[in-house]
């Protein structure tokens, strides 16, 4: 228990008749009882209680909150170490898990820069003169995302990859003025599709999900589904199963009916694969976690969103633009804010009022650290190691690739025997070996998806294969 001084300690009997001033220096409080007395005198009240006079007695809490007693930093550290000891992280068991976030390497410069508290303890850069550091970094981020995607404009980031898909669809509805339907491939991340369903629950468009039994969306199926009321088509490339989609044909089928082509992409795949701007994407979104951000049990991450120039005033989220100050010096400001909720209220393009600033900064430093060659080599290592792992695993009896599709760093295996039991056994041997797809796709209950990043060594892959053999 911290504190322990003064007569203010206490159990339920103390409230509400507590001291007129708070006891000394509970955590992070600087004003001592003497300071508080002086301040109360200046204000013209007798006690802290008097400052809360506007809260009716009938709704006041008459007991302490039922949360555990305070801890010192040392006790808290010991407590957190004990809690984390009950986790088996991706540093402790070799991680072959994907499904939207991946165990990629993070260069030390990313942590060093993001650890500058001038960045992480600042807020939204409303005062441009006092925020040029973050504003310039976000402008650089927007530029890097344009370079990465081959599209014209990018915003300063969204929450994460799943809700970014929903924001892209809302944007497509506004751009096209079509409210009929959204066509989505079943090979898009199932949880992204669930988020989209949640966001659209009370809006007009219905969601038509096109089956992908061969592990990809057949452009002929798409052609039949898209109509003149379709606001957009959503695909993921590489898709949830790891496979590549026939994006050029899909874009063509989409555009033939005047709908927008929305693609959820893997940022690191663009070291090798064609860019969304090259194959006809109108809006490209992504989970940005793989760009220098820790796994962190699912968040915080950042969503990427880039699009064609003509849609810029329909974009959701923060945008940073270049301008000059009154002396003519080049500088950066938040701009096109008339799209946003604090000006437009219920007519805003989105209800989002922040970006994921710190994580956009991390992605910026990460991409700058890699450069074009580093991005290509990272993608190349992912690709080759994933193919090596697939080759070795499918050499085992009863294991085969589920889909005959080209893949990048993730692939889907069909296996004999109970999948969850096998994965549990592999975890006991030190491997987060893969994801059981039955949770999302009942018809794929015998399938496992495996992801391989540049971090995985041949020794680790061979180890997984050996463990799999014996599991």
């Amino acid at each position: 228990m911290l504190g322990g001084v003064g007569g203010c300690q206490g159990g339920p009997t103390r409230f509400p008749a507590r001291c007129t001033i708070a006891e000394v220096c509970l955590s992070y409080i600087l004003n001592t009882p003497d300071d508080q007395q002086t301040m109360l005198r200046q204000i013209g009240v007798a006690s802290l209680q008097d400052l809360f006079a506007s809260i009716p007695a009938s709704v006041r809490l008459q007991r302490p909150l039922d949360v555990p007693a305070s801890m010192s930093e040392l006790e808290l550290t010991q407590h957190m170490l004990a809690l984390t000891a009950r986790n088996q992280s991706a540093d402790q068991a070799v991680c072959f898990l994907g499904g939207g976030c991946y165990d990629h390497f993070i260069p030390a410069v990313v942590d060093a820069i993001a650890g500058r508290s001038e960045y992480y303890t600042a807020y939204t850069p409303y005062q441009a003169e006092a925020s040029q550091g973050s504003l310039q970094a976000f402008y650089e981020f927007q530029t890097l995302i344009c370079q990465l995607t081959g599209l014209d404009v990018a915003n300063a980031s969204l929450y994460e990859g799943g809700s970014a898909v929903a924001e892209a669809v809302l944007m497509a509805m506004t751009v096209t003025g079509r409210q009929g339907k959204v066509v989505v491939a079943e090979s898009v991340h199932p949880d992204y599709r669930r988020i989209l369903g949640t966001y659209l629950a009370n809006l007009d468009p219905r969601i038509e999900t096109l089956p992908t039994p061969q592990g990809f969306l057949d452009p002929d199926d798409l052609q039949r589904a898209v109509d003149d009321e379709t606001c957009c088509v959503v695909v993921q490339h590489p898709n949830f199963f790891g496979g590549l989609e026939e994006v050029e044909a899909l874009a063509k089928a989409t555009h033939a009916r005047g709908a927008l082509f929305v693609v959820s992409f893997d940022p690191l795949s663009l070291g090798l694969l064609k860019r969304p701007g090259e194959y006809g994407a109108d809006i490209a979104v992504a989970e940005g976690q793989s760009l220098g951000n820790p796994l962190a049990y699912g968040g915080p991450y950042l969503g990427l969103l880039a699009c064609r120039e003509q849609f810029v005033r329909k974009m959701p989220g923060r945008l940073v633009g270049q301008t000059v100050d009154r002396r003519g010096t080049r500088c950066w400001v938040l701009t096109l804010q008339t799209r946003e909720q604090h000006i437009r209220r219920e007519k805003a393009t989105s209800n989002i009022c922040t970006n994921q600033g710190l994580f956009a900064l991390r992605a910026t430093v990460y991409l700058a650290a890699l450069g074009p060659q580093g991005l290509k080599e990272t993608a190349d290592l992912c690709l080759r190691k994933a193919h090596y792992a697939a080759q070795q695993l499918t050499a085992l009896p009863g294991v085969r690739l589920k889909f005959k599709r080209p893949f990048f760093k993730e692939f889907t295996l069909q296996v004999e025997g109970a999948v969850p039991d096998r994965l549990q056994a592999l975890l006991r041997r030190g491997y987060h070996a893969g994801l059981a797809l039955g949770r999302w796709y009942p018809t794929l209950a015998d399938c496992v998806s495996v992801a391989v990043t540049e971090k995985r060594t041949r020794t680790e892959i061979d180890g997984l294969v050996a463990a799999w053999k014996n599991a």
């Binding site: 301040m39 809490l61 310039q136 629950a201 009370n202 009154r326 909720q341 209800n351």
Partner: protein, 484 residues
């Protein structure tokens, strides 16, 4: 000191052939991409990213960082944003491998520690709210609002009360409130404020009817006032079968003093990054969990963390759930910091946060109110809204001018021009973590600025590298990316 490197763009530092990060040689016996993927899927050259060496990269961003004001460098009384100290211990603990390196799709057997933390966090947030069920999933306050309104819509749909199409929102509310209501499929209806800056009960009474689904209230409100009519408001809204939503942006004023569930709220969101001090990260990440009454719990997003005889697990079997708003479980990294904060403070510490936050705000108010108008009152909660409207009228000094001049004196500006119900608003929130000396110096500075020459103020700041960026030009001729 010459910090030229930070005024150049990253792209202008690029030099062909340089790089920071080098990769290991490939250790598997396979050919390159051209042997593994169809040629028509491959790009001819990788994206044209800048080519920068490590020391140049580091100097660029370290020098750039010095062009920010932040909590760690300056007093940051940005109203409504609760810019309190971000404890260093949180950064170290959230970075532990057993938190930071956890893949969200690991099996429960390998995640018991983080699940236990999240389960406790659900309970803490429920207790502090006085509400029974919590979803940690929303990534920010605005997403929390949307999530809760979707929960409300599902609840009424289930009860076949689909005539409830309207959400009532006070005119002093954050802009996210009406934007979230529209996205959730509701019509936003504005409720006026009265002369005290509180909800106009007559206007509320006139607009409450069987079409009302939700009344959204921020309490304390954006003027820094606790609406003492809340028992009456709750009774009125509930009598019409509607729900009360609390925008929890201002929870820093009432921790352990009153609970939203006890004053009638049926659902609310937290801003964990504000109240429980997640670093604001120059705009995010935030974390916006919601707490709701038991009758709304079935509709919360999936999954929730539950405790079973076999340990902690994620419960996906929730047939009435609205679905999901986040790919995984929310911004866990920020929730870890909030958990550490609550564990550090304990019940007395949480209550003291609010007591001192309110003390500090009232102290500044008392020191400046003879010089600046404060339209709504002698007292405030954790923040207050001053107005420069008379200064504007008499001397053409705007709220913006005062904010910009504060930058010269080493203070971040207050929130200006919000809430919309106060002309020339200056919204000041000192938080509990500031000392009396800091507050004294800030109040003295505000008084001093008031005496300064109007023309000089209109051109402030004078001592920063920049002054008054041309925002009109930025919006009229948008330049949103660097081009070669």
């Amino acid at each position: 000191m010459d910090k030229n490197q930070s005024t150049q763009l990253l792209f202008e530092l690029s030099h062909p052939g340089r790089r920071t990060h080098r990769l290991p040689a490939c250790d598997v016996p396979l050919g390159d991409a051209s042997t593994l993927l169809p040629a028509d899927t491959l790009t001819s050259s990788p994206p044209p990213l800048p080519e920068v060496g490590e020391i140049d990269l580091v100097r660029h961003y370290v020098n750039l960082s010095t062009r920010n004001m932040a909590i760690d460098t300056n007093f940051y009384p940005l109203g409504s944003c609760t810019m309190k100290y971000n404890p260093k211990r949180h950064e170290r603990l959230a970075a532990l491998s057993g938190m930071a390196s956890m893949h969200p799709l690991q099996s429960d057997a390998s995640t018991q520690g983080v699940l236990e933390l999240l389960w406790h966090m659900q309970n803490f947030l429920g207790e502090i709210a006085g509400l029974e069920a919590v979803s940690l999933q929303p990534a920010a306050g605005a997403q929390g609002e949307l999530t809760a309104l979707l929960v409300a819509a599902a609840y009424f749909k289930d009860r076949q009360e689909t005539q409830r199409t309207r959400v009532l929102i006070p005119d002093s509310a954050h802009g996210t409130n009406p934007a979230s209501a529209a996205l959730a499929g509701f019509d936003a209806v504005t409720i006026k404020s009265n002369s005290r800056g509180l909800v106009d009960l007559e206007d509320l009474r006139a607009k409450l009817d069987e079409r009302t689904a939700v009344f959204m209230i921020t309490n304390p409100n954006t003027l820094g006032l606790f609406d003492d009519q809340i028992p009456t408001i709750a009774e009125m809204v509930h009598r019409h079968g509607a729900l009360i939503y609390l925008d929890g942006a201002n929870m820093n004023a009432i921790l352990g003093i009153t609970r939203p569930g006890d004053f009638g709220a049926d659902m609310m969101h937290y801003n964990v990054h504000k109240t429980f001090t997640g670093p604001h990260g120059a705009g995010g990440p935030g974390s916006g969990p919601i707490a709701v009454r038991q009758m709304l719990a079935p509709y919360l997003p999936t999954p929730l963390v539950v405790k079973t005889a076999n340990g902690f697990t994620l419960d996906y079997d929730r047939p009435k759930s609205i679905g999901r708003v986040h790919s995984f479980y929310g911004n866990v990294g920020i929730l870890v910091r909030g958990y550490c904060y609550i564990r550090t403070l304990g019940p007395e510490g949480l209550r003291q946060v609010s007591e001192i936050a309110v003390l500090n705000a009232n102290y500044i108010l008392s020191k400046i109110k003879h010089a600046y108008e404060v339209p709504h009152g002698e007292r405030c909660m954790h923040e207050f809204v001053a107005s420069a409207r008379t200064l504007r009228r008499e001397r053409r000094i705007s709220a913006m001018d005062i904010g910009k001049r504060l930058l010269d004196y080493g203070y971040h500006a207050p929130t200006v021009y919000f809430p919309l119900v106060v002309a020339e608003a200056l919204m000041i929130e000192p938080t509990e973590t500031e000392s009396k000396e800091t507050l004294d110096a800030f109040a003295d500075t505000l008084l001093r600025i008031r005496e300064e020459d109007a023309t000089y103020l209109q051109q402030a700041p004078h001592t920063l590298p920049l002054s008054r960026p041309d925002e009109v030009k930025a919006a009229k001729e948008p330049i949103l990316r660097w081009k070669p």
